[in-house]
């Protein structure tokens, strides 16, 4: 089987861990937990071309990211970039994370998620912002780790895109 390492990227508490949990176990846990280290989960995704085993690296805790970025990203075939729709500020971080990712990995695919879409009454992403992203080719996917909205889709999309890329180490 073909394996791919992918990384979760995004500010603290945007829902990275919850998304992974949702995808891997289909359970949403309300319990907020930040530990230090990396949590690795795996899931096999069945695509038309082949089955791909995703090894999903989720870094725990915001603090560690700076320190561990290189190693954490090393060899990743793609990333899931997550923004919190109720905290527009997390988008700013996303820009920097993408820069960082490109620095470390070159031009690798990523899917861009705006998470917590279930919290509609607190939604703070405006049209102008959306248009800007779309113009940049970031094509956001609205997700909710709580309801499961588009979670499967997001991981599948990334799996599909990583399959097209060669991940031979340089």
């Amino acid at each position: 089987m073909i394996s791919r390492k992918i990384c979760m990227l995004g500010s603290f508490a945007v829902g990275k861990t919850s998304l992974v949990k949702r995808f891997v176990e289909s359970i949403f846990s309300e319990k907020y937990k930040t530990t230090i280290g990396v949590q690795i989960s795996k899931k096999v995704v069945t695509l038309t071309a082949a089955d791909v085993q995703l090894l999903i690296w989720d870094i725990e805790g915001a603090d560690d990211f700076i320190k561990m970025k290189t190693r954490y990203l090393s060899g990743a075939a793609g990333c899931i970039l997550v923004v919190d729709g109720t905290r527009p500020n997390t988008a700013k971080t996303a820009n920097e994370l993408v820069e960082l990712m490109q620095q470390e990995l070159g031009d690798k695919p990523f899917v861009f998620l705006i998470n917590k879409h279930d919290l509609l009454h607190e939604w703070r992403i405006d049209d102008a912002q959306l248009k800007l992203w779309q113009a940049n080719g970031w094509a956001p996917i609205f997700t909710s780790a709580k309801t499961g909205e588009n979670v499967e889709l997001a991981f599948h999309q990334l799996a599909e895109r990583t399959l097209k890329e060669s991940v031979k180490p340089t």
Binding site: I2, K5, K31, T35, G37, L55, G75, A77, E96, P169
Partner: protein
């Protein structure tokens, strides 16, 4: 909390925090929260705490400064506990078969063997003992294993860059182990160790041990070869693994270079991996002295360096705790301490009136280390004893002359202001001398009254922040002995409030955190921890602490492995203050908003209700 004396030392750390903050947080938060407050929304949700911290962070460094030590210890604790917690993640995957193997019968056997062995002394057992120590195995287990066997259960070939498993072989005991996950985790652990101990790429982790299983990791150019062994990692195993790694890297260069995440392409290496699955029923029980003992001493010594780094971290924590304990004692001074392989030595200078601290220090170290306390009891009324102590302990920069007379320490000549400040904070000195007379001395760069006051304040803050109040199981009120701690704590806080006299740069906030142990549901623990924090808060308010200064926050159960359940059921109190001038200005502005008390109260509630709302 940071004292004025070590502020510069922490400035680099502050820089890093700042960078981190800049990356994670921007300034939109600030606008957003201001809007929310203006509109008078009283019920916002989820991230109010982070946003409140956010907005403050945009204004100044206060929170960073105030929390730095807290974050520091938390980080240290996490790192201290994390290797184990990673092991805990792997364990369930490959653990079941281990548990089968180590039946309770074997455990009993181990115990009795241990007792037998403990009594026997001899060159042979000494030698084994040393080897067992080097291997990190309890002696009895070592003997058992030495007489029984070792067995390589799994071999992993891992792509170094990605942590992806390229190929693996299991023996019959491990047919359904999840090798893909283990492989990624091994890589992550390796990364973690490199980061945590500032090791270089070359000094990677060599071994991970849990129970009587060891994963031996060999890092090559492009691939990692890891073998999971039950029993001891013998030289045979180790050498075979290294040889296999080298031959694979040499002979399968193309396969390795072409590897595209597809395990199917790696079949060619399987025979080589299988070759590593060695099993030995009996290792020769005893051998005459062999040259490899000397050889292995060097080798194993190098291998263990990384793990020793971790162990010494744990020990250092304990030493730090011991030192602060010693410092909290009356009429006792720590002259020095020394750490040897299985022993810690504390050199103390004690007044005959003070008690023996051995028992308490032993309690800190548990069974892992022998604690030796070399107490020099000296009649501290004798001038020579004092002069000796002061000169040796302080190594004064300017060699002042000192004279002693009933409760007064006279200093003549020149004394450095820092030395003087330290003297003033030395519990041993202040317990014997009520006055340090410097009227005949020249104090170089003398401390201003302001600075002296700051020293007093920071001493008081440190004292307050060090207190932890412990609760009994599912209780939200304190028992009498903890109550008396609370009483003292409130007195100290009142004193600080009096000294601050409304100056928020001294006493800006009293943050009360409540914690619960692991028993019960998360929701119950959250409520429990909140009630505990409230109990403390109510007492403070009743004693006259300004309610507006108090922020309570329920933490629920926070999983800290090193703490026993009693220590988990706690409330901590931290004094948070702002130091920079800019911070004070901001506080004034905030004051002008002149929010009603009700408004503030609801905000406070919001701050402390974050998690509850989150899960409703």
């Amino acid at each position: 909390m940071t004292t004025i004396l070590n502020q510069s030392a922490s400035s680099q750390q502050t820089d890093e925090l700042k960078r981190l903050r800049e990356l994670v947080l921007g300034d939109e938060y600030r606008d957003a929260i201001e809007q929310v407050v203006d509109k008078g929304f009283s019920r916002n949700v989820a991230d109010v705490v982070s946003e409140a911290i956010e907005i403050r962070n945009q204004q100044d460094d206060t929170i960073g400064q105030a929390l730095a030590p807290v974050v520091d210890t938390a980080l240290k604790k996490s790192i201290e506990k994390s290797p184990q917690s990673i092991v805990n993640v792997i364990f369930p995957i490959i653990g079941p078969s281990i548990r089968k193997a180590v039946s309770s019968a074997i455990l009993d056997l181990l115990l009795s063997i241990n007792q037998l062995i403990e009594r026997s002394v001899g060159i042979r057992s000494l030698k084994w003992r040393i080897e067992a120590w080097r291997e990190g195995t309890p002696y009895a287990k070592y003997i058992l294993l030495k007489n029984i066997k070792y067995r390589v259960d799994q071999v992993f070939l891992i792509q170094k860059e990605t942590g992806i498993l390229m190929a693996s072989m299991n023996n019959r005991f491990y047919q359904d182990a999840d090798n893909d996950l283990v492989s990624s985790m091994l890589t992550a652990i390796n990364d973690f160790v490199i980061d945590s101990f500032n090791a270089t790429e070359e000094e990677t982790l060599e071994r991970i041990r849990f129970g009587d299983r060891v994963i031996q990791i060999n890092v090559g150019q492009k691939v990692i070869l890891a073998v999971a062994v039950t029993g001891l990692v013998s030289h045979e195993v180790k050498e075979r693994a290294i040889e296999t790694l080298e031959s694979i890297e040499l002979n399968q260069q193309d396969l390795i270079a072409e590897f595209d995440g597809d395990t199917e392409t790696m079949h060619a290496v399987l025979p080589a991996l299988e070759n590593c699955l060695v099993e030995k029923k009996h290792i020769q029980a005893e051998k005459k002295s062999r040259p490899w003992i000397a050889y292995s001493l060097v080798l194993v010594g190098a291998l263990w360096l990384t793990l020793m780094g971790y162990q010494s971290w744990v020990v250092n924590q304990k030493i730090a705790r011991s030192i602060s304990f010693i410092k909290s004692q009356q009429a006792v001074a720590l002259l020095g301490h020394k750490l040897e392989s299985e022993q810690v030595t504390f050199d103390l200078l004690q007044d005959p009136s003070s008690g023996d601290l051995s028992a308490q220090l032993e309690a800190i170290f548990g069974n892992d280390y022998r604690v030796v306390v070399n107490a020099t009891y000296a009649n501290l009324d004798q001038n020579e004893v004092w002069l000796n102590y002061l000169n040796n302990h302080y190594r004064f920069t300017n060699k002042p002359q000192m004279d002693l007379a009933e409760g007064i320490l006279f200093i003549r000549g020149e004394i450095d202001a820092n030395d003087l400040a330290k003297l003033n904070q030395d519990d041993l000195v202040t317990s014997k001398f009520t006055t340090i007379d410097v009227s005949d001395a020249r104090v170089v760069s003398p401390l201003t009254a302001e600075q002296l006051r700051n020293i007093e304040i920071s001493k008081l803050k440190n004292k307050i922040n060090a207190v932890q109040l412990f609760f009994e199981t599912s209780k939200t009120a304190l028992n009498p002995s903890e109550q008396s701690k609370l009483r003292v704590l409130a007195e100290d806080l009142l004193e600080l409030q009096r000294m601050a006299n409304g100056d928020l740069s001294i006493l800006g906030q009293v943050l009360i955190l409540g914690f619960a142990d692991s028993a019960g549901t998360a929701q119950k623990n959250l409520n429990l921890s909140e009630d505990r924090a409230k109990y403390v808060s109510d007492y403070f308010v009743a004693q006259g602490i300004d309610q507006n200064l108090i922020v309570i926050h329920p933490m629920g159960h926070v999983d800290v492995k090193n703490l026993d359940a009693k220590q988990q059921r706690r409330v901590t109190v931290s004094v948070i203050s702002s130091r920079s001038g800019r911070a004070e200005k901001n506080i004034e502005q905030e004051g002008q908003l002149d929010r009603s008390k009700a408004n503030q109260e609801s905000e406070r509630r919001l701050l402390s209700k974050e998690s509850e709302e989150d899960s409703s």
